[in-house]
């Protein structure tokens, strides 16, 4: 048991060393003059190879996303039940199949309801 924690310790130390090396390497290389220091505005920007951000990252999301999240939850929940059902369908037989069909039907009623109410349209 104890040696398992030993392996874990070695792993931890290796991970720390690797991270520290990666952080220390560029300053060391520059100090020994192996790499030149030629800063310019593009190079010292935060996302050198990407696009500049527009506005702050603390923004409010449009609440319409919420309706999509709701519809997502319907199918998410469905899958939670589908897995155990699929595994044991062999033993459940026809009754299990019909039962799941009824369950689907109820969820589809919910989906049709949301569709009819215009939840899926981005107005």
């Amino acid at each position: 048991m104890l040696e398992n924690f030993g392996y874990l310790g070695v792993f931890l130390i290796a991970a720390l060393l690797f991270a520290l090396t990666m952080i220390m390497l560029p300053p060391l290389l520059r100090r020994f003059g192996i790499v030149p220091k030629k800063p310019n505005p593009v190079k010292s920007s935060t996302y050198e190879c990407g696009m500049d951000t527009v506005g702050k990252s603390w923004v409010q999301f449009n609440f319409r996303y919420y309706f999509y999240a709701l519809i997502f939850v319907i199918f998410d929940i469905q899958v939670v039940f589908l897995y155990p059902w699929a595994v044991s369908l062999g033993q459940l037989g026809l009754f299990g199949l019909v039962e799941m069909a009824v369950f689907f039907l109820i969820l589809i009623v919910g989906f049709v309801y949301a569709w009819k109410k215009g939840v899926l349209e981005w107005k």
Binding site: F63, Y66, V73, D76, V80
Partner: protein
């Protein structure tokens, strides 16, 4: 030292207490909903641990049902949060005070 049932139960009790503290002490309605989720997941851990160490599948079935019902509950909760936010511009439960407790 092997990890046994009691470790899971202690984890579950600690998580449940953290969630309960948060649900009673936090002021943002969304954060309270998150704390309630922590409490429910603490229950799930206890259920699955009992089921694993007692060799009973019922606990896992119970956990699945808890997850599903909790999702439905949170959806209704968020809908109410949006309804309140639209009319009051705040989700701080101390400022949701048209009626006193």
């Amino acid at each position: 030292m092997a990890v046994g049932l009691e470790h899971f139960l202690i984890l579950s009790a600690v998580l449940f207490s953290i969630g309960l503290y948060g649900a009673l002490a936090k002021r943002n309605a969304v954060v309270i909903l998150m704390c309630i989720e922590i409490m429910l997941n603490a229950v799930n851990i206890a259920m699955v641990a009992f089921s694993r160490y007692g060799h009973l599948l019922t606990g896992q079935v119970f956990a699945i049902f808890i997850m599903v019902v909790a999702a439905a509950e949170v959806v209704v909760g968020l809908a109410l949060v949006i309804a309140i936010y639209r009319s009051r511009e705040t989700v701080d439960v101390e400022r949701i005070d048209l009626m006193k407790w």
